[in-house]
Amino acid sequence: MSTTRRHTILGATAAGGALLLTACGGGTGADQAGGGGDDAEKATTITLMAAEYSKDNTKAFWDAFADEYKSTYGYTLDVNVVSWDNIDQQSSTMIQNNQPPDILNLNAYASYAKDGLLYDSDEVLPDEAKSDILPTFVQYGTYDGKFYGFPDLASARALFYNTSLFSKAGIANPPTTWEELEADAQKITDGGDVGYAMPLGPEESQGEFSMWLFNNGGDWKTDGSWAINSEQNVETLTFMKKLADEGVTQANPARTNRADAFDLFASGKAGMVVGFSPLAASLDEDGTVDYAVAPFPSNDGTESKTFGVTDYLMAFKKSGNQDAVKAFYELYYSKDQINTFIEKEGFLPVTQSGLEYFQKDDKLKVYLDTLPNARLTPTDDPTWDKIKLAVQQNLGSAMTGDPQETLDKLQQTAESEG
């Protein structure tokens, strides 16, 4: 009898435990629905969900910004800084619950615009701000003829190379063609180090691939239709696979994330890596690696194209918040605020006035010169938000499989989604 009862209790505990644990795991989809602010009153408090670019600066900047916002306009700004690991999850949960933040800082916007959740520039962006934003970013921020994706900052990629490894291998100048890159990587590998650190892991493989394909005359989309498996792109991925097969990259490129590749370069074990200004900042702070920055080589030696990335500050339509949101953008795009933020975080400007302001910094010259012509991924297409994820999860499979097949599959996915 006593054992039976113990089993009963155990069974109940087990069942409850299973339910509880699993319910928690999937709980993001299960929070309360409904609610929503239908009150027509003017909002005096708005919320910002901001991505954490750095532990030291992001929160400090937005807190100071909120003070300024309060004293200038009288509105209160609730600042919520969230790490990049969690921000997708948190914003998605808030939207499921019908309680989106007023302003969301994220690396995608088109799907939100497509769902009709966002204000466009005519509704909330002051004219001076709009005319100051670089035309490239306006173009990539425009969905269906309207400008929704207001850029907060940008970054552009370039080739970082370890100068001491280069001189050890007897290489005088950074490569300007892919052939040279391959030869240089081979020489460095012969010296016992990693020639070229190639991150094709799921963290950001679309970034690495973009840099390569833009410099082989390829693109993700041409003339409005998907061109993922174009001849140039297959050639590009085949070349990348060749580098991996020759062993001039680190072991297992398909399973190396960008952060790991950066670590490898920062430890002085890798000859080359595609990096951006925050990497430079952290290398300078450590001061252990001698490095220089050069434009990424193109396949045939023609002028290098850079891969640009921008994140967005988008505004959610909620009744009564329009004035406060407009005031937010007026303040953010004022020169003092936006340039301070970008300078502290070590990124690149997205405005004309910002370009002028940052001319003072010699180290940024290599990026700034290329920035107005930077190529971006097709962030203005909501389909890209899914393709990006498909690329992250699948591109690496080309390293052990067939590049043509990998890209064909991605092309199919894109066509069936779009």
Partner: protein, 323 residues
């Protein structure tokens, strides 16, 4: 909650025939209270169960029958479509296989090693206190931190494990413990066992301490060998502890997220995912990015673990009855 009813049913059914009327018993028995008073005392517990278990479960089920945009926006009802999409997902067989390997391997290794550890730790030896504390440490550390630590240990370029193996000339080139498909699952199982040991060991220590010494002494007097004493007395008397350790570990390991997510984050696709990380990736990392499908997977997970636990308990009961 259906389980509670199922399991309780036979015992209450057994009590009624021929016994005294329940009502009279309740009014005259000592230590019995009226239903309203009982409910009053149970109210906090019931509220907790409703709020923390039932409500999320209902919401999870609702979400699994809804259609969501990639942004998380609710688009309307989806019927059973999310379920059919999950069940026909091309990677599902791999994920199920991984889940099975993961749960069975971690639980089995954990139980065997914990038994040995517990046997050692009930013996009196100098420094036992210290060793017992050392066993608890992995339990106290956050799973994410432990996992991250193992990522560093396993690292291809500067990991300690490769360093030692290279130094001892066991291998010539480093092993990519987390990137090489042959090693990934095994590397994760090691971590899973490592973090499950403390709890299980202490369950067994408690179980061993509860074994009456006179039984042992009697066996010794009767001339039973140490192995016989262990096999015939210790092991059967550890049965309740074994049951608890197995069931709780199974649920815990099945639902373990941080280890697999952290150690597997460099690997594309679903090649080494279990149902739990599969569920997370469906919602936030895969090209579907679909909360509805993820919720459907969540419901399926609950059903699987319930069935597994009930089947286990049933098998254990069945053996007891036929003995």
């Amino acid at each position: 909650m259906t389980t509670t009813g199922d399991v309780q049913a036979p015992s209450s059914g057994r009590a009624t025939p021929g016994g005294p009327r329940p009502r009279r018993r309740r009014s005259t028995g000592i230590g019995r209270v009226s239903t309203p008073v009982a409910l009053l005392w149970l109210a906090p517990a019931i509220a907790l169960i409703v709020g923390v278990v039932l409500f999320p479960a209902v919401m999870l089920f609702r979400a699994s029958r809804s259609e969501y945009s990639i942004t998380g926006l609710y688009l309307g009802s989806a019927g059973w479509e999310n379920y059919s999409k999950v069940l026909s997902y091309p990677d599902l067989p791999v994920v199920l296989k991984n889940t099975l390997v993961w749960v069975v391997a971690v639980v089995a290794f954990t139980i065997v090693i914990s038994l040995a550890l517990a046997q050692l730790l009930v013996k009196d030896f100098p420094g036992r206190r210290f060793v017992r504390w050392a066993v608890i440490v992995p339990w106290a550390a956050s799973l994410v931190i432990t996992s991250q630590l193992f990522v560093l240990l396993y690292d291809y370029n500067y990991g300690l494990v490769n360093h030692v193996l290279l130094g001892l000339h066991v291998i010539d080139t480093p092993i990519s413990f987390l990137g090489d498909d042959r090693f990934t699952m095994a590397s994760m199982v090691v971590v899973g066992v490592f973090v499950s040991l403390p709890f299980t060991t202490f369950v067994f220590i408690a179980g061993l301490n509860a074994i009456p010494t006179d039984v042992m002494e009697a066996a010794e007097v009767d001339g039973a060998s140490p192995w016989q004493r262990w096999r015939r007395i210790t092991l059967p008397l550890l049965r309740p502890a074994m049951l608890i350790a197995t069931v709780l570990n199974t649920i815990y390991v099945f639902n373990s997220f941080p280890i697999i997510y952290t150690l597997n984050d460099r690997n594309p696709g679903f090649g080494h995912d279990t149902l739990i990380t599969f569920m997370y990736k469906l919602a936030f990392k895969s090209q579907e990015k679909d909360v509805g499908m993820s919720a459907a997977t969540g419901v399926i997970n609950v059903l699987i673990i319930l069935v597994v636990v009930l089947v286990y308990l049933k098998v254990v009961n069945w053996r007891e009855e036929t003995r």
